[in-house]
């Protein structure tokens, strides 16, 4: 089985399995994020792939499914009804399930520094207009309104994902993801880019966003050092902040809320975007299918796994967590976990990050055009035209 480096809780599930099945052990190999995707691809190309592999679901996983490399998982194999349905969508292609969720939910939320907002006399923004007004006030106080690691490109994409979802509703991207290139030319795509460029023009991201790289934790650092007021990022940022600045969290200075709404947009206010979860899938060439299914069924996100994720500040995509949440000890963790769980349970749609949802050959044009739109090197309308050209 192959997975990513930082999946320590997942590793515990493998250890537990191996303890119970000494004669049919799972060997776990862990890889760094960037290498991993390529390594997996090459391994599958050379028929050297692991029995079980870790992925993000969406278009990238569908590449493997289409190439006949992934086994279908029957509902009875998985007890699939224990998982949040909107999450299972990311590993379901043509009505068949190809993966089992294996770690926490990661919707994208708006974090803010309570102290910085209070100093500037700003309430956490609820609408786009609030956000623009907040940007003005925060700029006057000489703080960066929104911390953004634009050097890494994908954090910028999160804005476009939310803006399009709020503006055009979740159907627009669903159409795009289904392969309809013309849907990139939907007016709401242009409008979403317009909003992004307006924010950037208003100075929402400061002067240096393009130099900030996500990997070194600089964008979170801007937030907890008070140099920036807000950050739009996935829920994993909570754990990062808890690790890098425990004092900041202990003082209760970290605030979080849903992404602002766009009054007049067709989208629903409580829809979310982000990464529903990571998935484990089964290599169709495996000789150890029954062992793998035992592992999926009894060890992945079982009771003790769920507890471990909750203790780490992460909500696993499992139904009926209310009673477990009530027993979390740390009050800041409890508030956070309840917030994330509620966000996902109440969301009418959970849009998978675009760079994961689309086939991998579209991810690069997407990130490049997002960056260019953010830098205002292309007009809002050109984004859609370029993307539609790159997709067809």
């Amino acid at each position: 089985m192959w997975a990513l480096n930082d999946q320590t809780i997942l590793k515990e599930s493998v250890d537990a399995y191996n303890k119970d099945h000494p004669d049919e052990k799972i060997t776990l190999r862990l890889f760094a994020n960037d290498d991993y995707k390529q390594k997996l691809r090459v391994a599958f190309g050379a028929n050297q792939a692991p029995d079980i592999f870790f992925s993000w679901g969406g278009g990238a996983l569908n590449d493997y499914v289409k190439a006949g490399k992934v086994d279908t998982l029957r509902a009875s194999d998985l007890k699939a009804d224990r998982f949040t349905p909107s999450v299972m969508q990311s590993a379901t292609f043509g009505g068949k399930v190809y993966g089992v969720p294996a770690n926490g939910l990661a919707p994208v939320v708006l974090y803010y520094n309570k102290k910085v907002l209070a100093d500037a006399g700003v309430e956490p923004p609820k609408t786009y207009a609030d956000l623009l007004a907040a940007v003005k006030k925060l700029k006057a106080k000489d703080v960066v309104p929104m911390s953004l690691a634009a050097n890494s490109k994908w954090p910028t994409l999160m804005y476009l994902e939310y803006l399009l979802d709020r503006q055009g509703g979740s159907d627009v991207f669903t159409k795009i993801a289904s392969g309809d290139a013309s849907a990139w030319k939907d007016p709401s795509v242009t409008q979403a880019n317009q909003y992004l460029q307006d924010l950037s023009k208003a100075g929402a991201f400061g002067d240096n966003a393009s130099s900030v790289s996500y990997d070194q934790g600089a964008s979170a650092a801007l937030l907890y050092t008070g140099k920036a007021a807000m950050e739009v990022m996935g829920t994993w940022e909570y754990a990062n902040i808890a690790k890098a600045a425990p004092d900041f969290l202990a003082k209760g200075d970290l605030g979080y809320t849903a992404f602002p709404t766009l009054p007049g947009g067709a989208g629903k206010a409580d829809s979310i975007v982000g990464n529903p979860s990571n998935f484990l899938s089964l290599n169709s060439g495996t000789k150890n299918k029954s062992a793998a299914l035992t592992y999926f069924n009894d060890y992945v996100l079982n009771d003790s796994q769920v507890d471990a994720y909750l203790a780490a500040g992460s909500v696993p995509p499992v139904n009926g967590l209310e009673s477990k949440l009530a027993t979390v000890k740390s009050s800041s963790d409890k508030a956070w976990l309840t917030f994330v769980y509620g966000l996902v349970q109440n969301a009418p749609s959970f849009q998978l990050s675009w760079d994961q949802a689309l086939p991998s050959d579209q991810a690069d044009p997407l990130l490049t055009n997002t960056d260019k739109s953010f830098l205002r090197q292309i007009s809002p309308a050109e984004f859609g035209t370029n993307m539609s050209k790159a997709t067809s």
Binding site: S152, K153, V212, A363
Partner: protein
């Protein structure tokens, strides 16, 4: 005598090269089966504006790198050539970048140039707190600077060795004839360094076609901001390993080979390096 070398070159040089050319005519996503594409990859690569932009950036990096690195390396080489304890100490300091891997250099400079937490945050250095790597206008020049920081020591070493090879009798004779330091530099040092310069320049120019790791790290793997630092090798990598279009990536790779080969031939031909006439005739 040459047979083992030829064998090795054939195995590790020619065979992969032929493989790349074959693959450039195929359709392969690295996962499924390989299909025949004919010249489709080539026509797609050659008609894509992004390829020409990447090539233009590559040439720009190459030429500016040469213009920046050659005088600095020459000056450092001249400074280090005479023996002396202090110079030896300096030499050790200068060569430090040579010992670091490109990835370490990239990560270090990325952290140093961070406008919020890098050197720009030091009191008195606030003028450095600029989006050097983030601005589409500045990023390429910042990258060229970091490349120079990495490679100048190596070329300085070449020049130092070259200068130490020049017979001192030449300088003594010139001094007797009343030539000042400037004349001695222009009439003796520079002409005597001709082949060192050719070697160094060829390494610099052809080497700049392989600047990949450093730019990859500095731009967060994207050749950004936008496509401001997406040179041809990076474009090849992104096409092949992120967009999973091995055919097109192979076409770009073959293009790079042709370009590098032409460049290498051109520098040696123009400089008369192939004639290899003696520099010390009449001595």
């Amino acid at each position: 005598m040459a047979a083992p070398a030829l064998l090795l070159f054939g195995l590790f040089g020619l065979v992969p090269l032929v493989g790349v050319v074959v693959l450039s005519l195929a359709r392969w996503d690295g996962l499924g089966s390989v299909g025949w594409a004919g010249v489709a990859n080539w026509s797609a690569v050659l008609t894509d504006g992004a390829t020409w932009q990447a090539l233009w950036l590559t040439v720009k990096v190459m030429v500016i790198s040469w213009l920046v690195q050659t005088p600095v390396a020459l000056a450092l080489g001249i400074f280090q050539a005479p023996r002396g304890r202090l110079r030896a100490l300096f030499a050790v300091l200068f060569f430090l970048p040579l010992l670091l891997s490109a990835v370490a250099i990239g990560l270090t400079w990325q952290a140093l140039l961070d406008p919020s937490f890098g050197i720009g945050a030091t009191p008195g250095l606030h003028w450095l707190a600029k989006p050097l790597l983030g601005s589409p206008d500045l990023a390429l020049y910042t990258v060229i600077f970091v490349i120079a920081w990495q490679f100048v020591p190596f070329h300085a070493l070449l020049y130092q060795a070259g200068i130490r090879q020049i017979p001192t009798v030449l300088y003594e004779a010139a001094a007797l004839d009343g030539a000042g330091p400037a004349t001695r530099f222009r009439r003796i040092t520079l002409p005597q360094l001709k082949y060192t310069m050719v070697t160094s320049s060829t390494l610099m120019l052809v080497g700049s076609l392989t600047y990949f790791d450093l730019i990859f790290v500095l731009s967060g793997g994207t050749g950004g901001p936008g496509t401001a630092t997406r040179v041809l090798p990076l474009s090849m990598y992104i096409t092949g390993f992120q967009a999973h279009d091995m055919g097109r990536a192979s076409a770009v790779a073959a293009l790079l080979v042709v370009f590098g080969l032409g460049l290498s031939l051109l520098t040696t031909r123009l400089s008369g390096f192939t004639r290899m006439d003696s520099q010390q005739e009449g001595m």
